[in-house]
Symmetry: C2
């Protein structure tokens, strides 16, 4: 089974036509860099982060709640799921059982807040359920404790509203869904919200724009943890044209947030 998995997810080369086109159009060296083989970088980062295959695997917990958004959740988990030798994924809920997404399909909770193992990465998606969870004090308290104890914290879409409501990103830069921007940003008035960003990194916190943006952010976190070469391999393995530029966000303008 491992060999079969590898065929789909692990033997990629380094190229992204979208990245290339974007770089060609904008002339930015930063973006253009992403199509080059960055030999050595991955190895260095890997050893710094204790994440080689011979060491303990990282544990990623994805927090879910009734009405979570599917792609917010499974875009990032597809990318981290390609690193089976480096990362183990668990779904975490307030209660045990199955939890329904906003679109209908339900996922199984592996651990509750109370019995979850110590995490290396915690993520929280958006979805209409966030409007309930920002007013759910026990959920907020549990999520806050978990995020405080976890070295890498990421929110996708309106998951940023829940994260903001904990107070943990007060004074930090963050972004969120661009259509629900007014509501989401109102949940954290001390956060330095960035209107135009695909994702924002500030300290241990990564926050992404709406729904599909979480996938690009997840690859940026993989880049941080395991190096650019690994991130490009994962993207190419998923036949995914990674938007490597955190500033590329046409949806801020589309939603009237910038001129």
């Amino acid at each position: 089974m491992k060999i079969l998995f590898t065929q789909e997810n692990d033997k990629s080369r380094l190229l992204s036509r979208r990245t290339f086109m974007s770089a060609a159009a904008t002339g930015t060296a930063l973006t253009a860099l992403s199509i080059l083989p960055l030999t050595g970088m991955a190895e260095t980062k890997t050893s710094q982060n204790n994440s080689s295959a011979d060491e303990k695997k990282m544990i990623l917990g994805m927090v879910v709640f009734e009405g979570f958004q599917l792609l917010d959740t499974f875009g990032p988990l597809e990318m981290f799921g390609a690193l089976k030798d480096k990362v183990t994924i668990y779904m975490i809920g307030e209660k045990a059982g199955n939890i329904k997404s906003s679109a209908g399909p339900a996922v199984a909770v592996d651990y509750t807040f109370d019995n979850a193992p110590k995490l290396d990465i915690v993520m929280i998606p958006g979805g209409m359920g966030t409007r309930r969870e920002v007013n759910n004090a026990p959920f907020l308290a549990s999520f806050k404790s978990m995020a405080e104890a976890t070295p890498h914290v990421a929110s996708i879409c309106t998951g940023s509203a829940v994260l903001a409501k904990t107070g943990l990103i007060d004074g930090l830069k963050a972004t969120t869904n661009k259509r629900s921007y007014k509501w989401a940003t109102s949940q954290g008035e001390k956060v330095k919200w960035v209107a135009q960003a695909r994702w924002v990194e500030d300290g241990k916190y990564f926050t992404s724009s709406g729904i599909s943006a979480g996938t690009d952010m997840a690859l940026a976190l993989i880049d941080k943890l395991f190096g650019r070469e690994t991130a490009m391999k994962v993207a190419n393995g998923a036949e995914y044209e990674w938007n490597t530029d955190p500033h590329h966000d046409p949806f801020a303008k589309l939603n009237g947030l910038v001129d």
Copy 2:
């Protein structure tokens, strides 16, 4: 709750910077068209397909099996999930209970092959589990019957291998994952496999390339069923830069399938 959902998924405008850049770079009128408001088109298509909000909703069944690929499954379901007034989504399995993805997270089966309602759309994802299912005769027979009885059939990634193994796409054009191309295409030697394609439409069958390609294909199916304007709204609502060109496939070359 409906209003909140609408905020994230239903009030979009028509623009995709990626589409625009792609059109600008290639100069293709076809691609450029996708950024224009195509007024009237959606309404016409909608009435032709009996899919207005006042009529019966379509039922989309996503077939899952142990070792299914997350993004194959939930990329398309994110897009169709934004059309809650038009489409109901069910997860379908060989047996009841929860089914584990290749990455770990498990989803709940809503119906088995035996008790599923009549579908309007059936989809099958890829993932390492396809290597087992192509040799699972009862699964193949059930999936074949379901696909024969369903007006719209789509496979993602190596889901095409399972679809091909049923014989239903013999003589038709199709594509599949580009890294697992040799194995997947060997499951249907009478299929007219297309090496370079993001997705292929032939009659009632849509087949996509690997993993993330399913999302682009799903939007093409939404375009077919409900019109381009609806598809662009869904993409923009998900802050997703839809690759509207089925021929745009850099991963065929990356995997050595074309020069």
